[in-house]
Amino acid sequence: MKQYLAIHSIYDYIVFKKIDFMHNEKWKSQVRKGVLEFVILLVLQRNEYYGYELIKQIKTLTSIDVSEGTIYPLLNRLKNTGLIESKWVEYETGVPRKYYSITEAGLEAVKSMKVSWMELNFSIQKLMVE
């Protein structure tokens, strides 16, 4: 009986730990997706970058492990909304690169996003302490 209970507890532990881990990963992925547009604008505020370079910058500057392909739909959306713009630069040796830069509207959007982020951060910090 004792043996059965022990096995049962281990099983519960593994199953719940697994569910806990899966839920946590899913949540982290959703948060990452949600903030990625904001992160892109913040990085482009520093300089103009081409797609591959932008991903490397995001990986270096943040702990976000961004899947490379996911950046393109976001860049496309930001471009469509006028927050960023792009231009092709051709090199004599090497590959042509599509550079993205932030627009005036993008800079304005970042300002308001920063305020929203601070407010959200403050509320969550408060909730976590209480």
């Binding site: 797609g51 591959y52 490379e68 392909g69 393109y72 739909p73 496309n76 469509n80 042509p96 599509k98």
Partner: protein
């Protein structure tokens, strides 16, 4: 502008071509300019990523770069869907809407429901418009009629009904036409918003 890297191994060329065959299959719904821009940007990305990788095996380095970029069937869907909708500008083109739904990164159930709603909405809108047009030529056979047995008939009938039974009279054509247009616009604009969401 184009990128066609020179590989040392034949297999690397095969892997490269195969990946871009898949990319072009995903983006085939777009126009030529949009297709070549996406193709070039992904080639540029992949080649940079490939060149930065260290290792003896060329094909392995290329496959690693592709793995990091992801499956084009997955990550390109959202781009294609948005570009199709943007291509239609402010207009609401049924063909673009349908392509937009098909390329949108939504679940199969949600996608099927959207297609059914779009189809049903257009069918009802077309039917209302058709009734209005038929009414112009056959005023006693199309519209809203009270049937002799007390029932209500909305649509087109083979029997000629007396004008006393015609419930809307001269208002039939404008009412049916306006309803058809409003329904068409509501379905199209609503669907466009849903796809973009």
């Amino acid at each position: 502008m184009n990128i066609e890297p020179k590989f040392k191994e034949k297999v690397s060329r095969k892997i490269w071509d195969d990946y871009f065959y898949r990319v072009n299959r995903v983006i085939k719904g777009l126009n030529k300019k949009q297709r070549s821009e996406i193709d070039l940007e992904l080639k540029s990305h992949l080649y940079e990523s490939f060149l930065e990788r260290e290792g003896e095996n060329e094909a392995e380095r290329l496959m690693e770069a592709m793995e990091n970029l992801g499956r084009p069937e997955e990550f390109m869907k959202a781009v294609v869907s948005e570009k199709i909708l943007d291509g239609s500008g402010k207009s609401i083109n049924p063909k673009n809407l349908l392509l937009g739904i098909l390329y949108s990164p939504k679940s199969t159930i949600k996608m099927s429901m959207m297609i059914c709603t779009l189809g049903l909405g257009y069918l009802v809108s077309f039917t209302l418009g058709l009734i209005a047009v038929v009414r112009i030529f056959f005023s006693d056979q199309a519209g809203v009629f009270k049937e002799p047995d007390g029932g209500l008939l909305i649509g087109i009938t083979g029997d000629k009904l007396p004008y006393q039974n015609d419930l809307l009279g001269i208002w039939t054509i404008p009412l049916f036409l306006i309803t058809a247009i409003i329904l068409y616009l509501a379905v199209s604009i609503g669907m466009k918003k849903m796809i973009k969401h």
